[in-house]
């Protein structure tokens, strides 16, 4: 939320103001203040334990649990009051503006959820044995309203403050988070139900599974970051072999993601194509360096060695479990729509979708970066070239998507290779 536009500020102001009005309106007459206090502490604990789930500062916390418990135990206004605990979360991340917005958002979600609970026929107060299972319907309504309001308010702020280009796959992440939230919401009715048996001791026991889930989510996120960093580091290591293709995998990966996002691919497939892009050329390891860096045209044998690289790449990454579709992409990324590519000579729709996407991104990056036998071409020229070969070498739909994405978001071409003969990039063994 660093560089907020005026609209963004107005929006945040409106959310906070609406929350303040709700809180000011009351009524506070029938409120059990010790309940509100304990639930407020529970909410602060949840908020303090929030997990960062994306690089852009989107954090997930189990607040829903505490505010939905408050909806049942204290009603709409009490729930709104409990949600003010968001302001006091012991978390260093959020700026004051973020804190205010989050608090306003949770106050509004909780209040509306409370209203929905009452409207659906729910009875406010600690539920006794007779309240079940009748309470589950109204509670489910309240939970859905809470998560939906939260989801919309949050997405609106991301939409208003979105950066140019956006981060693909984020909406999918949000849907998963919303479902997670809903799952935790179920704890709310449990806290409310246990209140009459375990009293204020309830939150202590309930917090344990929550913290374990939080731990698992954090571990997952950490592993995923580690995974991406490791794959990228290993790909860079492979690229040291050919000075001219440094950064090629990263860029092809980026281009493939641009195309995939542009044509509205599912987030998990976008994730897979990103790895496919990074790994598409690992098979080049099997091609002698002298062939890769050759300035003149290749002999038939050398050309055969180059043509083998998609299959070799496939052999290497075949055992990576999640990559099924990516494997096809890696194997066929040198096929052509007119059937004159390699290794299988597939044509048209026979070529897997991933391979058609990768082919466009691969060729584009090859054109816009230096090679041993020619210099880089400017982006507009490469775009013209892509268009020219659409329908022969490339799938026209993906060329259009790519061109549209480049025209909107731009393309960072690699730095030109400085010297004609680069200073020795590879070390040699003289001592042998």
């Amino acid at each position: 939320m660093g560089n907020l536009s005026r609209v963004g500020w107005v929006y945040i102001g409106a959310v906070v103001a609406a929350a303040a009005i709700v809180l000011a309106a009351g009524p506070y007459g029938a409120l059990n203040w010790s309940q509100v206090g304990v639930l407020g502490l529970l909410l602060i604990a949840c908020e303090s334990a929030a997990t960062l789930v994306s690089a852009r500062g989107l954090a997930w916390s189990a607040n829903t649990m505490a505010s939905l418990a408050a909806v049942v135990l204290c009603g709409p206004v009490g729930a709104a009051l409990v949600s003010c605990g968001t302001l006091f979360g012991l978390r260093r991340g959020p700026s004051p503006a973020q804190r205010l917005f989050n608090t306003g958002m949770y106050v509004l979600s909780a209040y509306l959820a409370g209203r929905a609970f009452v409207a659906a026929g729910g009875h406010v107060g600690p539920p006794g044995p007779s309240a079940f299972p009748g309470i589950i319907g109204p509670f489910a309504v309240a939970a859905v309203v809470h998560v939906a309001v939260n989801f919309m308010l949050l997405n609106a702020v991301f939409w208003l403050t979105r950066e140019h280009g956006g981060v693909p796959g984020r909406v999918g992440l949000d849907v998963k988070l919303a479902l997670t939230d809903l799952g935790y919401g179920a704890f709310g009715v449990l806290i409310a139900a246990l209140w009459s048996v375990l009293g204020p001791f309830t939150p202590v026991l309930v917090l344990i599974p929550v913290f374990v889930a939080r731990w698992a989510v954090a571990q997952f996120a950490a592993q995923q970051r580690a995974y991406e960093a490791t794959v990228s580091a290993l790909c860079q290591a492979v690229e040291t072999k050919d000075f001219y293709t440094r950064g090629h995998s990263e860029r092809v990966s980026r281009g493939a993601v641009m195309i995939a996002t542009e044509i509205g691919m599912r987030p998990d497939r976008v994730g897979a194509i990103r790895y496919a892009g990074m790994l598409h050329d690992v098979g080049k390891m099997g091609v002698p360096t002298s062939v890769l860096q050759k300035r003149s045209s290749l002999t038939d044998d050398e050309y055969a060695a180059v043509q083998l690289h998609p299959m070799r790449g496939l052999d290497m990454v075949r055992e990576i479990g999640f990559l099924d579709e990516a494997l096809a992409g890696i194997m066929h990324h040198h096929e052509r729509i007119d059937g004159r590519g390699y290794p299988m000579g597939l044509a048209g729709d026979e070529i897997p979708e991933f391979a058609r996407v990768l082919a466009v991104a691969d060729a584009f990056d090859a054109m816009t970066s230096d090679r041993s036998y020619r210099g880089a071409r400017p982006v507009p020229e490469a775009v013209t070239e892509l268009r020219k070969w659409a329908g022969k070498q490339f799938d026209p739909a993906f060329v259009h998507a790519f061109v549209a994405a480049i025209e909107r978001d731009g393309w960072t071409a690699p730095q030109p290779v400085a010297a004609e003969e680069p200073e020795e990039p590879l070390r040699t063994i003289e001592s042998l």
Partner: protein, 432 residues
């Protein structure tokens, strides 16, 4: 991949090699499974004689247990867990009241319901060709049976108070005890299968399982109290949040597995590039892990050792021309060190594997270096010996050649190789 001679070649339960045979159930497994079978037969017979108390509760908890068994998950290190089933079984064993009515199922009935539900939950897995893991199921049944056999007689005799502060400590103690028992049994089985030490295996088990055990245990304590208020709806309500925890755990376990597969796959770049012999990295990593286990290393350290061993030759990518046969043991020390240094740099780029990078960096240092230098860490010494051994023996299965290679390494234990490591290697490749 040609199998090498020696005991360490036996397929490990940890990461079964493709096509490898699982070890047949040995005496420990048989004892456990037979005991569980007897428990099943006794409990079903006894429950049939005494009649079923509380059919609805039995069905509800049975359904939860079967559902949890259906959703069993694999944790890192090839461990099976069924958190929802375990929570359901323990909660049933700890049940005091359903709504207003006291619950009085006998221990035999609890065990019978648990065992039958587990079998029902395993059936769909069998139907799609995933074999049931009898050992893991038996261990889970044993833990639940232990809680039921202790708590049910006390509760049914009315010795457990109705207020939470009198009942909760007993329940908590039992749940913790059951968990420790389950860990101990699992550790015993793994000690057998993996040739590790009981203390180490038990420590690993406790470390890996405690977050899940905490979540499962807390749920098992909460459900009986919730059932006093909500009746059997508590069982349904509780399945949802536990499911969220389970989903997070599953994703975490999934990415851990993918990570290892990917590092294994990408470690083959050195083979495809012709820098090392085919299968070298895989063999060195398997041998290193076996040595590390023989020397009593814990699981977390073994994982780092495995990563380091897989990537120990990554540094060779910096060479323009491959070392003949990839045998770094034949290369001058300075070159070895430079290759190791470059490999460490590559791994360090991933930013999350710094300790692995450190292991790789020190892999070519002698075990007893000249005065000021510190000796390399144990994993580096293990990789050094395993790498040297594999360079000498390769994929050969000849026991004489193996003994010869160990003898040659042993000659160098004065300063080059760690004598303890070479001893362990000797025990592994040429069993007495």
């Amino acid at each position: 991949m040609t199998p090498l001679a020696g005991r360490w070649q036996q397929p490990r339960r940890g990461q079964p090699e493709p096509g490898a045979r699982r070890p047949a159930l040995d005496s420990g497994h048989w004892l456990l499974v037979a005991f569980a079978g007897l428990l099943l037969i006794w409990s079903v017979a006894s429950a049939a004689v005494h009649g079923v108390h509380g059919v609805h509760a039995a069905l509800a908890f049975g359904a939860l247990i079967a559902f949890g068994e259906l959703l069993r998950l694999n944790l890192p290190g090839d461990r099976e867990a069924a958190p929802i089933a375990t929570a359901g079984a323990m909660a049933y064993a700890l049940l005091l009241r359903v709504g207003e009515d006291p619950a009085r199922p006998g221990a035999d009935q609890v065990i019978a319901v648990t065992a039958l539900a587990m079998i029902v939950g395993a059936l769909p897995h069998l139907a799609v060709g995933r074999p049931a893991r009898l050992t893991a199921m038996s261990t889970r049944l044993l833990a639940a049976a232990c809680v039921a056999a202790t708590f049910r007689p006390l509760a049914n005799a009315g010795l457990i108070g109705s207020r939470w502060w009198s009942a909760l400590p007993v329940m908590l103690g039992l749940v913790v005890f059951a968990w420790l028992l389950e860990s101990a049994v699992t550790a015993l089985i793994r000690t057998d299968a993996l040739r590790t030490r009981f203390g180490v295996a038990f420590g690993d088990e406790v470390r890996v399982q405690w977050p899940i055990a905490a979540a499962t245990g807390a749920s098992a304590l909460l459900i009986p109290f919730a059932a006093e208020v909500m009746g059997l709806a508590a069982v349904a309500v509780f399945a949802a949040p536990l499911l969220v925890t389970q989903v997070a755990l599953r994703r975490y376990a999934g990415i851990r597995a993918t990570y290892l597969q990917t590092v294994r796959a990408l470690a083959k770049v050195t083979e495809i590039g012709g820098y090392v012999e085919t299968g070298h990295s895989a063999r060195v990593s398997r041998l290193s892990v076996a040595i590390g286990r023989e020397l009593g290393m814990a699981e977390a350290a073994l994982l780092e050792l495995e990563y380091a061993a897989l990537m120990h030759d990554i540094g060779q990518l910096s060479l323009r021309d491959p070392v003949p046969g990839g045998a770094t043991v034949l290369v001058a020390r300075d070159e070895q060190r430079r290759i190791a240094e470059y490999g460490a740099e590559v791994i360090q780029q991933a930013r999350v594997l710094d300790s692995v990078a450190d292991i790789v960096r020190r892999q070519s240092d002698p075990c007893r270096p000249a005065a000021p230098a510190q000796p390399p860490p144990l994993p580096s010494r293990i990789i050094r010996a395993a790498n040297a051994y594999d360079d000498l023996v390769g994929s050969s299965a000849d026991p004489d050649r193996a003994a010869e290679a160990v003898a040659r390494l042993r000659l160098d234990t004065a300063c080059e190789y760690d004598p303890r490591v070479v001893d362990a290697l000797g025990r592994l490749v040429s069993p007495a």
